[in-house]
Amino acid sequence: MLGNQAVARGCYEAGVKVATAYPGTPSTEITEYISQYSEIYCEWAPNEKVALEVAIGAAIYGKRAICSMKHVGLNVAADPLFTVSYTGVNGGLLIAVADDPGMHSSQNEQDTRNIAKAAKVPVLEPADSQECIDFVKKGFEISEKYDTPVILRLTTRVSHSQSVVEESSREEIAYEYKKDIKKYVMMPAMARKRHEIVEKRLNDLKEFAEKTELNRIEKGESDLAFITAGIAYQYVKEAYPDAWVLKLGMVYPLPERLIKDFCSKFEKVYIVEELDPFLEENIKAMGIRNAVGKEIFKMTGEYSPSFIRSAVEKMQVEPHYRLNEELAPRLPILCPGCPHRGIFYVLSKIKDIIITGDIGCYTLGALSPFNAMDTCICMGASVGMAHGISKASDKKAKAVAVIGDSTFVHSGITGLIDAVYNKSDILLLILDNSTTGMTGHQDHPATGYTIRGEETFKLDLVSLCKTVGCSVVEEINPYNINENIKKISTLIDMPGVKVLIVKAPCRLHRRYKYVLSKRYIDKNKCKNCKLCLSLGCPAISLKDVPTIDQNLCLACGMCESICRFGAINSVKE
């Protein structure tokens, strides 16, 4: 079972009543799998802050609730997190946060444990799918016993690895809701008292950490000793099956006596953890002097068993088959037929513009052959940044913001309100492909469907943008390339906040059907000008002349519309 699926299973078995999330790799599947359990109410929220607030409401009401997100989502949800730490819960509250060492699908490599410590919230870290189930259940018990939210920290290789699990049945759990303003209304007088309770709770949790079976010593048969947690534990076990291991299932707060006692038995103890030296700094702060960590293990990227061996023994694993030449890199690329291709082709043809980008498939517009994006920072940043560029340049810079529909709803709307309120001169392109694309087609408020595919009110982006006061709001079709070059060029030079909603569903989405008519290139008409190659379509490659791979073509027709010699035509059925 996939790690994320196991988290979902654990929630089902633990009697969870409410599950919320905004999709984000590598956490998305937790909530998708939960949606298969009819006993649990679940939803996609517009962003992680709202998602956590919904879960907090459910927990305070007395039911078990989970909120799932990727690491950067916790930044968005940090505001409620830091204060729900003060109020505590009623029914258990688990926040599943998936970090992404190696940045397979993220814009940074931040380490959730640091935020958890700052918020004074305990953290459990499972190392495989069985532990995902077990730690979810344990997490809810800790949450209720110690009256605290609990973070379940995952990493990509736990979330997206499959391993064997045992399932059990569901237990329903509910507590009575009691109004208690001293506990749940955080204003200074109440919060001061709650802060003292939080500090006492941390001390109680430290005691709990000393005796819980979440932290265990595995006896070894050599003099090598490791302290580790999560996926790094698996790498250590594979690299050194005979070593002594203190495996921490609870990585915050730490069991000081257990760790000191373990370290006193060995000459040297290796601390193995991906990303920041979180365990290491806390352990060294205990006054332990024989711990070795980031002196030999890297701070960036993922680990592996051979990496650990090479760091400990200072030797490299040599491959048997070695290549002499450098291979062509294969970076991610917009899919064949992708509607974003049309807009980035257009933007690449317009000179002297600054394009602020955002988080989604369309971030790939920054890469060759388009090179049509200047920045990408975080969800929703494109809008505010374009506004900032326009103001800083005294309106000289032509700032264009590009954002997806799901990202716009997540956190672009407030940026747009700011731009209008402060009389900006920007063009905003909302690439509306009617889904959350990159994470694998999740619905959101502007698709008109819930997580379970039920129809619901569909947020109308056109009337929304008009309501907040944009001077121009129009819908365009990204496949009309020649028309769009003219339209966008004209709008860029107009004053005010202009919005174009670029509307065409994701070509891969099952909900939207197309009349498929694949294209081919007529070799007799082709002049080999290679203009079609500048679309960066994976289906078109250069043999003697450009050729379209019929297995890959998704029949969008963009290549046909830009060919100047009429050489690209529909395949006759």
Partner: protein
């Protein structure tokens, strides 16, 4: 049966790595191995180079496979077969599809697409090259390359055919079971010379 088996499935995002890893993982589980599979989702899947790891053994810890540790590499694309070749054990076997998808760096002319067949021979790797394009044309469905490759793999690995068929039925949507079983049979019947 071997004590440990490490299988690397490589290709281009969207070619069906994950489904194939699930099927192989289920087969290994049903013949009595402990199994771990590691997949890649999200950004990397958008036409990038992707790898899925399947590990089987009496007890598997790390879900990753390191360099020089793979018993088999199943490659859905020729350039990707080369990219991961350092992960093959000395006595490991490469099964690769005779199918080229030029990456953007080749289309833009920054790099050349290498002569994969020549390099694989020069390296002295034990390999099976499968003529996937013509098999796909013959079967009339462009999305079953993964189950054709599974058919080839099933003959080399020496696990009974019925385990694979059952795993296909369990992991493929009902409406696609028939075509995938047909593709699997096609893969099993590919002439591999001496196996």
């Amino acid at each position: 049966m071997k004590e440990n088996l490490n299988i690397l499935i490589v290709g281009v995002g969207g070619q069906g790595n994950i489904l194939l890893s699930k099927i192989i993982g289920e087969v290994f589980l049903n013949v009595g191995y402990d199994v771990k599979i590691s997949e890649v989702h999200g950004m990397a899947q958008r036409g990038g180079s992707v790898v899925t790891y399947v590990k089987a053994g009496t007890k598997v810890f790390s879900p990753l496979i390191d360099k020089a540790e793979a018993d088999y590499i199943i490659a859905f694309e020729k350039l990707e077969a080369l990219r991961w070749i350092e992960y093959l054990k000395k006595e490991g076997i490469l099964i690769y599809s005779d199918y080229e998808i030029p990456p953007m760096t080749v289309i833009t002319g920054a790099y050349k697409y290498p002569d994969v067949d020549k390099i694989v021979k020069e390296l002295g790797v034990k390999f099976y090259k499968i003529d996937i394009p013509s098999l796909l044309t013959k079967i009339g469905n462009s999305r079953v390359q993964n189950t054709i490759m599974l058919g080839v793999f099933s003959r080399l690995i020496g696990i009974e055919e019925s385990f694979f068929k059952k795993a296909i039925e369990n992991n493929v949507k009902p409406e696609f079971v028939e075509i995938n079983l047909k593709a699997f049979a096609m893969g099993r019947n590919v002439d591999l010379g001496e196996v």
